[in-house]
Amino acid sequence: MHNDVPSAARPSSTGGHQSSTVDRRPTRRRTGRLVPAPLVIPAALALAFLVLPLVGLLVRAPWPTLPQRLAESEVLEALRLSLVAATLATAVCLVLGVPLAWLLARVDFPGRRLVRALVTVPLVLPPVVGGLALLLLLGRRGLIGQWLYEWFGITIPFTTTAVVIAEAFVAMPFLVIAVEGALRGADDRYEEAAATLGASRWTTFRRVTLPLVAPGIAAGSVLCWARALGEFGATITFAGNFPGRTQTMPLSVYLLLETDPPAAIVLSLVLLAVSIAILVTLRDKWIGSPA
C-alpha cells in the first residue's frame, strides 16, 4: 500500500522525457499530489484489517475436499433453509416495508419522526435482544402468542416460521430505509402530474411511483435479503437450533466450529461467495464512482 505514494508521484518526473506528454503534465501533477503519511498508514491498516481475515478464510479452506463437503446433506439442508427463509423474509419485508416507506416519504402525519426512529431501532438493537423480544411477544406465553396458542393451537417459536419472522424483524429496516430514500429522491411532480390526469393515490402509487423507484426497491431487497441470510442472534434466540427446521447457515457455522472446523469454513466460504455476488450486483448503486 505504501508503494502508492512514489508511484503516484512518478508520472510528473517521467513526463518530461517525451515532448508529446509535456502538455499533459498539469493534470498528472494534480493526481500525483503527495498524500500525507498520517492518513495513508492508518488507511492501509484499515484495509488490511478488513481484508486479511477473509484471506485467512480462503487460505485455511479445505480446498481438496470442498466438493464432497458441499454435497453433504447437512450442509445442503442448512443452505436450502437459509435461502428459503431469507427469501420469504424479504417477501414479508417487501409487502409490509414498501407501504411503510411510502407513508414515511409521502404522508405528513403526526409522529412521523418518531415512527422513523422506531423503524431504525432493529438496526442498532443487538439481535439477541430482538430475538428475546420476539419470544416475549410470540412465545407460547407471550403477549400475542398465548392467544395464538389458545385459540388456534399455533406455536411460533422454534419453527421455520420463527426463522422467517426473526430475519424479517432484523432486515426490514434496511429495506424501509433504502426505499424511503429512493422515494424521497424520486421527483414527486410525476405524482402530481398523475393526479391531474385523474389518478387516485393508489393508482398513482401502482402505475407511477413504483415503476419510478423500482431500482431503489431492488437494491433495498438485495440488502434486506443479505441481512436476512446472515442473521444469527435473533434466529438462535427465537427459533432455536434444530437441523432442517431452524438451523440456518450462520447457526451451522457456529456449531460446526466445535465439532468439525473444516466444515464450518466451507459454509463460511459459501456465505462469503454470496456476499461478494451481492456486492457485484449492487456495484453500480454503491461502489460506482461517487460523482
Binding site: 402530474a193 393526479a195 385523474g198 419510478l212
Partner: protein, 364 residues
C-alpha cells in the same frame, strides 16, 4: 363570496371564475381570474410573481388560503369546507418540463388519463392514438419520452392533457424548454390547438411573445397581484408598470397631467399631444428618442441632458441606455447616427422626444 367575486360571474357558467389567495412566508398571491369557455388567457409576469402558484392552486396541487375557485358552475375550492382534489377536478395541465412518465410510451402516457377515468384499455389506447394523431405524432406512439425531441415531448404532453377533455386547460411555460427554432413552429402549432379547445385555457408565461401569440387576453401579475389586464393591443399601447413597459418595449413615466404637460416626480415636465389631467402615465418608444451632441433647437418639444449607461445591438439598430431627465430611458438609433456620436458609457448627450410621439393616459 365577496362582492368582487360575484362581479366576475359575467362569463357563462362553463367558464372559470377564481379569486386566488395563497399565502406563504414572505409571499402572498391575491388575484382575480375569469376565463370564458374557448377563451385563452395568458398569465404573464416576471419570475417569482406567483404565476406557477396560481396554476397549482387551480389544478388543486396547492390549496387556497382564501378566495374561491368555480369551474363550470362547480366550486372546486372555497378555502374552507370545499376542496376538490386534483384527480377529481378535470383540470388538464401541461407542465413546464412536461413530466411525461419516463417508463411509459407516448401512447401509454396519453392513455393514462382516459384509463384513470374508467375507460377500458382498448378504448383508452384508441383515444390516445387519436390525440397523438391530432398533434401530428401518430407514428411515434411507441416511443418513450427520452426518445422524443423537446418539441415532440411538448406535443405529447399537450395530447395527454387534452385527452381528458378537461374542463379547464392549464399550460405552465409551455415553450420555455424549447430551443428558439423549435419554439417558432411549436408556438404556431400550439396556437391552433388552443384555439380548438372548447373550454377555458390559461397559459402561464414570462415571455410576452408567447402571450401575444397564444392568448386572447393578458393578465399581468407582479408580486402576487394583478397590475394590468386587457388584450394585447391595449397592453402594448398603454403599459401601466415598468415591467409591462419593458415587455412591450416602451419608456414609461408617471406624473401629474395638466392638459398637454405632465410633471414627473423629479419635477421634470414632458409635453404631450394627448390631453390628461391628474395622475397619469406618459410613454414613448425608444425609436422616438433622438440623440444629439449639442442642445437641439427647433421642433422637438422635450429635451434633456442625458448620460449613456449602456450600448447594445437591437435588431438593425443600436439601443442606447440613458439616465437623466425623466429617469432611465432607452433610445434606438441607426448605426449611421451612432457613428457620429462616439457612444460609450459615461458619454454626455442631449436626448429629445417630439410631443406628438408620446402617449399620455390616466393612471387611475
Amino acid at each position: 363570496m365577496t362582492t368582487a367575486d360575484r362581479q366576475e360571474s359575467g362569463g357563462t357558467d362553463r367558464g372559470l371564475r377564481a379569486h386566488l389567495v395563497v399565502e406563504r412566508p414572505a409571499f402572498r398571491l391575491d388575484i382575480h381570474l375569469s376565463v370564458a369557455p374557448g377563451e385563452v388567457v395568458a398569465l404573464l409576469g416576471p419570475n417569482g410573481a406567483g404565476k406557477t402558484t396560481a396554476l397549482r392552486a387551480l389544478a388543486g396541487l396547492t390549496p387556497l388560503t382564501d378566495g374561491r375557485i368555480d369551474l363550470a358552475g362547480t366550486c372546486l375550492d372555497d378555502a374552507a369546507d370545499t376542496f376538490v382534489p386534483p384527480e377529481r377536478r378535470g383540470v388538464g395541465v401541461v407542465f413546464q418540463d412536461y413530466l411525461l412518465f419516463p417508463h411509459l410510451t407516448a401512447l401509454e402516457n396519453v392513455a393514462f388519463g382516459p384509463r384513470c377515468r374508467g375507460a377500458s384499455r382498448v378504448e383508452a389506447r384508441a383515444t390516445a392514438q387519436e390525440w397523438l394523431e391530432r398533434v401530428g405524432l401518430g407514428e411515434l406512439a411507441g416511443r418513450r419520452p427520452r426518445q422524443l425531441s423537446g418539441g415532440q415531448a411538448q406535443r405529447v404532453a399537450l395530447a395527454r392533457a387534452l385527452a381528458l377533455q378537461p374542463a379547464l386547460l392549464l399550460l405552465d411555460e409551455p415553450l420555455a424548454a424549447l430551443d428558439a427554432r423549435t419554439r417558432l413552429d411549436t408556438r404556431a402549432d400550439l396556437h391552433r390547438h388552443l384555439a380548438d379547445h372548447p373550454g377555458p385555457t390559461l397559459v402561464v408565461t414570462h415571455d410576452p411573445l408567447d402571450a401575444f401569440v397564444l392568448a386572447d387576453r393578458l393578465v399581468i401579475i407582479e408580486d402576487g397581484t394583478t397590475v394590468q389586464e386587457g388584450d394585447a393591443a391595449t397592453v402594448t399601447a398603454r403599459p401601466r408598470t415598468d415591467y409591462v413597459a419593458r415587455l412591450v418595449g416602451l419608456n414609461l413615466y408617471r406624473g401629474r397631467g395638466d392638459g398637454h404637460t405632465i410633471t414627473l416626480s423629479n419635477a421634470m415636465t414632458l409635453a404631450t399631444a394627448d390631453t390628461v389631467h391628474g395622475d397619469a402615465f406618459v410613454a414613448f418608444p425608444p425609436a422616438a428618442v433622438a440623440l444629439y451632441l449639442n442642445p437641439p433647437e427647433g421642433s422637438p418639444r422635450n429635451t434633456w441632458p442625458a448620460t449613456v449607461t449602456g450600448v447594445t445591438r437591437h435588431g438593425d439598430n443600436i439601443r442606447v441606455q440613458l439616465t437623466g431627465g425623466p429617469g432611465a430611458a432607452s433610445a434606438d438609433i441607426t448605426p449611421a447616427a451612432a457613428s457620429t456620436l462616439r457612444l460609450e458609457p459615461g458619454q454626455r448627450l442631449w436626448a429629445a422626444v417630439k410631443a406628438t410621439e408620446t402617449r399620455a393616459y390616466p393612471a387611475s
